[in-house]
Assembly symmetry: C2
Homo-oligomer: 296 residues x 2
């Protein structure tokens, strides 16, 4: 078809195929998830990182920070549900919750579905991530409208080291250990977090892929077992994260991660989830052999 | 660098980067796993399908049939362990096992790790897949050396419909429902498989990704609940399969998939696994909310 004909005859919709642009998040430069970019909705940078929002025909809008996919409209929300409901339902009565990181606000929104929470403080380094998330992910950020949401923009390390506040649950919803969050995967920070927890408090941290980041999990686990009496790994399936399989570390001053109150507590909060349910909560702590061997 | 200099100065090893070739297995042409191809080891076709073996720096050798990745040296073997050990340990005493498909022989090899099995018949359509797998995947195909392995090359549908043999366990280790195996995802075939099972027999079938292939799972589940008194879905994490998350259907004439004998039976067979263990066996039947809703 000649250039002249094309202008008159090809409907704009059919030109989608001409915009053949792909985003690939690669591990060790040799494999990873690739997604077709329908539209590049944001491509910006903050003081700390690049921030992109792309749209894909299957996943819808996707947030990409520091070159890593963080969330998507059409995933199953496993990460946000599992990093929040597991500690909040393991704890007998969480009133004060702190999230370090979590700029897309997905964890904050899940935490505030618990009516017994009095306040959820979120300490995020990068205000631009929250701004972009509010614009593109209204469901994920809906918790910001809740008056119990206490948002602050600060370095999580400074906040933990300088604050005297105490929390029932602290969630480390950090980006990967190679970016601006690197220090927050180290033992001094884990010790400082421990000291900001009330008696019976629980720390949960995202802990990378058990398939790809064995050394990172091993190191974090080793830090935490020196500090907390109860430390467990749990996992979930998360299709947009590297390998599709993700780990969390659960470190507790006393509550066990699995107990016979989970079902009644979940019924009491009466929320709709896409991934979490009490059976999945229990099953998440049953580790495949290759994951057990990481910490053997 | 000029062409002349290049020949003298660039070590062959450093030329790896010049061979920049990628394989991408896409879902709906808009997202999927992409892997760098170090070497294209086989690129052939049989009467039924294309057969490729590629090598990747992280995964090692990978078998690709009909454009879909089937297995890799460095995955966690979850698929082969979960499609075999779950039914074999749910059954009180499996003697006769039939695998339909499974040309890479990974399932056969796992089945024959059970000393109580008298014979494992494998009915594969495509002899070339077995031939290529023997050449490139010696560990995966090591079960072929066992004298209890009974290999035949035939259409699984013909074999099931014309045989009068009966089995304790039948495993449908098929390629995707769009390829040569399409008929083997239909109800008449599932009924015929039921009729080839002994009393107390178990059928297990690979059932695609719960994230991407909800309709396929729903249809297979609907077929099987009309035929078997016990039908359950279970899942595993499988990094090289679409979405990284995979489903199986467990259909049984009487044994429940989870029972209090699993631990002692697993201890008795005394094998080393990479994914399966009795806790994972139990946990695999705890379904995330979005998977439950497929069959709600």
């Amino acid at each position: 078809m000649s250039g002249k004909d094309q202008g008159n005859q090809v409907p704009v919709k059919a030109m989608e195929d001409l915009w053949n642009v792909w985003y690939s998040e690669l591990h060790n430069h040799n494999h990873g998830l690739t997604v077709k970019i329908d539209r590049l909705l944001e491509s910006d940078e903050s003081e700390f990182q690049r921030i992109e929002v792309i749209s894909n025909p299957f996943f819808g809008k996707m947030l990409c920070l520091y070159g890593s996919l963080m969330c998507a409209d059409n995933d199953n929300n496993a990460y946000n549900e599992m990093i929040t409901h597991v500690p909040l339902l393991a704890h007998p009565d969480p009133k004060e919750v702190l999230i370090i990181g979590g700029g897309d606000c997905g964890a904050l929104t899940e935490v505030l579905k618990h009516p017994n929470v009095n306040r959820c403080t979120m300490c995020e380094l990068d205000s631009k991530v929250v701004e972009v998330s509010k614009k593109h992910f209204p469901d994920l950020t809906s918790g910001l409208k809740d008056k119990r949401a206490n948002l602050m923009f600060a370095d999580g390390k400074d906040f933990i080291e300088n604050s005297s506040e105490k929390f029932d649950i602290i969630i480390l919803d950090l980006s990967d250990p190679v970016g601006p969050a690197a220090d927050l995967f180290q033992k001094p920070f884990h010790q400082a977090v421990h000291d900001r927890l009330n008696d019976g408090g629980i720390l949960v941290a995202q802990a990378e892929s058990p398939f790809l980041n064995k050394e990172a999990i091993k190191a974090m686990h080793a830090n935490l077992v020196d500090i907390f009496p109860i430390v467990k790994i749990y996992t979930c399936f998360m299709p947009i994260y590297p390998s599709g399989y993700w780990a969390f570390l659960f470190a507790s001053k006393s509550p066990e991660p699995v107990n016979d109150k989970i079902v009644s507590r979940f019924e009491r909060i009466n929320i709709k989830t896409r991934y979490y349910n009490p059976e999945t909560h229990v099953a998440a702590f049953a580790l495949p052999q290759f994951v057990k061997e990481i910490i053997a």
